[in-house]
Amino acid sequence: MSLEIIKKDLASNQIPPVYLWYGEDRYSIAEALKLLKDYIRAEDPSGSGIEVFSGEGLVAAKVIEAAYTSSFFARRLVIVDDLPYFKKDKAQADGNEEEEPEADSASTGKENEDVEAFLAYCENPNPATCLLLISEKVNKGRKLYKAIAKAGKVLQFSYPDTHSEWIKWIQKEVESRGKKVNSRTASFLLEWAGHHTGILNRELDKLVLYIGARQEIRQEDIEAVCVPLIETTIFTMLDAIAAGKTGVALQKLKEVLSQEYHLKVYAMIVRQIRLLLAASILRRRGETVEEFMKVAGIKKIFEGNKIYRQAAHFAPQNLAEALEDCLETEIALKNSGGNPHLLLEMMVIRFCQKSSL
């Protein structure tokens, strides 16, 4: 984990002159940034050594000037948030004149100069400054990337990839708070609150306070305290429909409708049924989960797995009929054919009748 590497760097007082942080986990980047800033502030509480530049309309010369300026009291930290240079593809950004669209040529020309300036800085960085570049994406083939990697450190902040990595991540976070959680419960939390490090961190804070002196987090704690994802509620609703439990399904529908616009809820139900239909047909043909995910355009493996597993409980016929019913409801919804909540309730009741036949 990149956060650990940064902690180690700070502990051993070995901050590289250039950092490049990238990845989709903005939350962890923000956490790391906080650590780094705290470290600098510990040396110089005034915070005068910290300078922040925003990626939009960035002028490289100013950044580099700031980086070369020596600080009075302590190390300097120059931060460029949302570095723009990795946004364009390689051919354009590396100055390949032939493929460059003319309209962009002026700005690209300026950008090339700016990149050159950063390259030059990487050749000879100021050892008393930490230049931190934050970017959402990087292109490892680019000269700039290679130069930064050579002069300093590149760290990736990405979400855990697989289900088991997520579980491990949760367990580690819980341990760092002095509590325990088994993998089953962690997995439940993941489905309940969603795959988002920031949200999960906040939920864990709450859980730890909620259980008080008790050591282990249990499933009922999560149900009592954590805010369920709307998808979780929709899943519970769809599960209830599949099992013919009209009462639960209607209650969950009400919960969902209190949070979301009815057409959005409708669209979510339809999407779910469509995915289930695709999964159940592919299942019957004996295709794999991977094939299903390719067909349905699902990126996350756990989502694919879950739908594929759920699809086993449905017959394609029932799902297709359910979709037709959805169409009728949609027509009614969009033609002011009555109270939308009532129309959705009737749709759900009819599904439940179907599944209990």
Binding site: R26, Y27, A30, K34, K37, H196, T197, G198, I199, N201, R202, D205, K206, L209, Y210, G212, A224, V225, V227, I230, T246, G247, V248, A249, L250, Q251, S258, Q259, E260, R284, R285, G286, E287, A315, P316, Q317, N318, A320, E321, E324, D325, E328, T329, I331, A332, N335, S336, G337, G338, N339, L342, L343, E345, M346, I349, R350, C352, Q353, K354, L357
Partner: protein
């Protein structure tokens, strides 16, 4: 002193006094005890469930000079100032009227200043979902690096409008609706303290109608208390405007009794009292909806106890099917009422239709009449689809996944008299027919593509599908698909044929039952099935079939090692 509304006078002042929301209380109390108060909270939930109240208690607890465990003392200067809204360190901001970036920037600049007297500066931002996206971004920066000794409490009824970036920076608490017994208990407490006499039943009605919001309940009670003691449920009905419910219950009785006269008389009575026919139909629809929710999902109706038990008895008598069909008719009717020149006539028509269709099937289909807008309005189609969906499967319907219905004798006889000329003509014209169907309905065309016209015998056309295409076959048992194809065939061939969809194996079975040279089952099989399917069909063993369903089929040759 000016009169203070009940819900303000009785606003809880300590965590202990809070009604419901145990999960929130536990966490906040523990956080205060362990000194682990987060720097930002988001309180979300329906109105009147205690968000602002909790925020104020938390603010007091944080700044209280003589805190008892986690509870604020409510006596010290700080507590009193906060209660009176005079505290300099507790700022209540209404985001609905301060939603721009300038206001948030202003806030950001002032956040840095240390608290003037208290220990913490507390910002309570109400209705936070009203902030503009830019203002949210500005707030995010502050939330990411808040100064020490500042606590933000954001409150909203619509948490889904708060961006994810904010959500991942705050501890979010979802406030639940307060249960009706809890509300009734609190109301009773208030009445006792005020020395007023209010019937238990009246309190229950208020609690039910408040739908989980204690503030609403207290407001209604406040209004009720203007009456002389003792206060009865009837007073509450008048104040909430629940007279319509017993009226709707009477109308439902008329529907149940299938009494046209009674229904019309009731309507007449309502109109004479000055009620709008549209509102009458709408109220009836709401009333029946409660019955539907009770019958289908066991949800307790949100009505006064007597009417509730009446509704329960009525819906048990009517059953789900009738309720659904009534509501369908009312929904359709509501739409028509909107444009009807004579609303009363339209309302009468709706009631009559509801009674008429109960046992005699759809009025429109039988009598061949149509109300304005119904023939082409999608609502009408929906209504019919509902009736179809509710219809119990007839024996002739093919079950979705069960074994196919045994071909009847009639079919076999028909097959004997097969007509080879017509068959070849039909096969020749098939592409044309497909094209015709495509123009009619695209989805039917898509299903039809998988079928082959195998044989014409008498009036019957056997449409054969591959064995794994039972789903497609079943589509052609439905009239909406069947009718289209039959019409197109009639147009192309000039002869009316009845569509009989079959699976390949069913067709083979049928052909084997009589030995006519005309049928070419082998050919059909060669056309439709491949080697794998033929092999599969040979597997009689149900275990193997099940295994195939679960894991898929693959033809493997096992060679013994020599």
């Amino acid at each position: 002193m000016a009169y203070l509304a009940l819900y303000r006078e009785w606003r809880p002042k300590t965590f202990r006094e809070m009604v419901g929301q145990d999960h929130v209380r536990t966490i906040l109390v523990n956080a205060l005890r362990q000194n682990k108060v987060a720097h930002a909270y988001l309180f979300s939930g329906p109105r009147g469930t205690g968000k602002t109240t909790t925020a104020k208690i938390l603010a007091k607890a944080l700044n209280c000079e003589a805190r008892e465990d986690a509870e604020p003392c409510n006596k010290c200067a700080s507590c009193r100032e906060i209660d009176q809204g005079l505290a300099l360190d507790v700022l209540e901001i209404d985001a609905a009227s301060n939603r721009g970036i300038d206001e948030i920037r202003n806030l950001r600049d002032r956040v840095k200043l240390a608290p003037s007297g208290g220990k913490y500066k507390v910002y309570i931002i109400d209705e936070v979902h009203m902030l503009t996206p830019e203002a949210f971004n500005a707030l995010l920066k502050t939330l990411e690096e808040p100064p020490a000794n500042v606590v933000f409490i954001l409150a909203t009824t619509e948490a889904h409008k708060v961006p994810l970036t904010i959500l991942s920076r705050v501890q979010r608490f979802e406030f639940h609706r307060i249960s009706a017994p809890d509300i009734a208990l609190r109301l009773k407490e208030v009445c006792l303290a005020l020395g007023r006499e209010v019937e238990e039943k009246a309190l229950q009605v208020i609690a039910l109608k408040a739908e989980g919001g204690l503030r609403d309940a207290l407001s209604v009670l406040d209004q009720c208390l203007l009456q002389e003691d003792p206060i009865r449920a009837e007073h509450v009905y008048q104040i909430i405007g629940m007279v319509g419910e017993s009226y709707s219950a009477d109308l439902t009785d008329a529907l149940l009794e299938e009494d046209y006269g009674l229904a019309l008389a009731k309507l007449e009575e309502g109109v004479a009292l000055g009620r709008d026919p549209r509102q009458i139909i709408k109220d009836l629809q709401d009333y029946l909806r409660q019955g539907l929710l009770y019958t289908a999902g066991g949800q307790k109706p949100l009505l006064s106890p007597e009417i509730s038990s009446r509704l329960i008895a009525q819906s048990e008598r009517a059953g789900l099917k009738k309720l659904l069909s009534w509501i369908n008719i009312l929904l359709k009717g509501e739409n028509e009422l909107r444009f009807a020149a004579n609303a009363r006539l339209a309302a009468e028509m709706i009631l009559i239709q509801a009674i008429y269709e109960q046992d005699k099937g759809p009025l429109l289909d039988q009598a061949g009449i149509s109300l304005p807008g119904q023939t082409f309005s999608p609502k009408a189609r929906e209504g019919k689809a509902h009736l179809l969906a509710e219809r119990k499967p007839k024996p002739s319907d093919v079950k979705p996944d069960g074994p196919p219905a045994k071909p009847g004798v009639k079919r076999e006889e028909a097959l004997k008299s097969s007509d080879s000329d017509l068959t070849s003509l039909l096969k020749a014209k098939w592409p044309e027919i497909l094209e015709g169907v495509k123009k009619g309905k695209k989805s039917t065309h898509a299903f039809l593509l998988e079928g082959t016209p195998a044989q014409v015998a008498g009036e019957l056309l056997y449409l054969v599908f591959k064995d794994q295409y039972s789903f497609h076959r079943d589509k052609f048992t439905q009239p909406e698909n069947k009718d289209i194809v039959e019409k197109v065939i009639e147009r192309c061939l000039g002869k009316k044929l009845k569509l009989t969809p079959l699976l390949n194996k069913e067709f083979k079975e049928l052909a084997a039952n009589f030995n006519s040279g005309d049928v070419e089952p082998e050919k059909a099989s060669a056309e439709n099935g491949d080697l794998l399917n033929t092999k599969l069909r040979e597997c009689e063993d149900s275990c193997v079939q099940q295994a195939v369903e679960l894991f898929g089929a693959e033809l493997v040759e096992v060679k013994e090692e020599t």
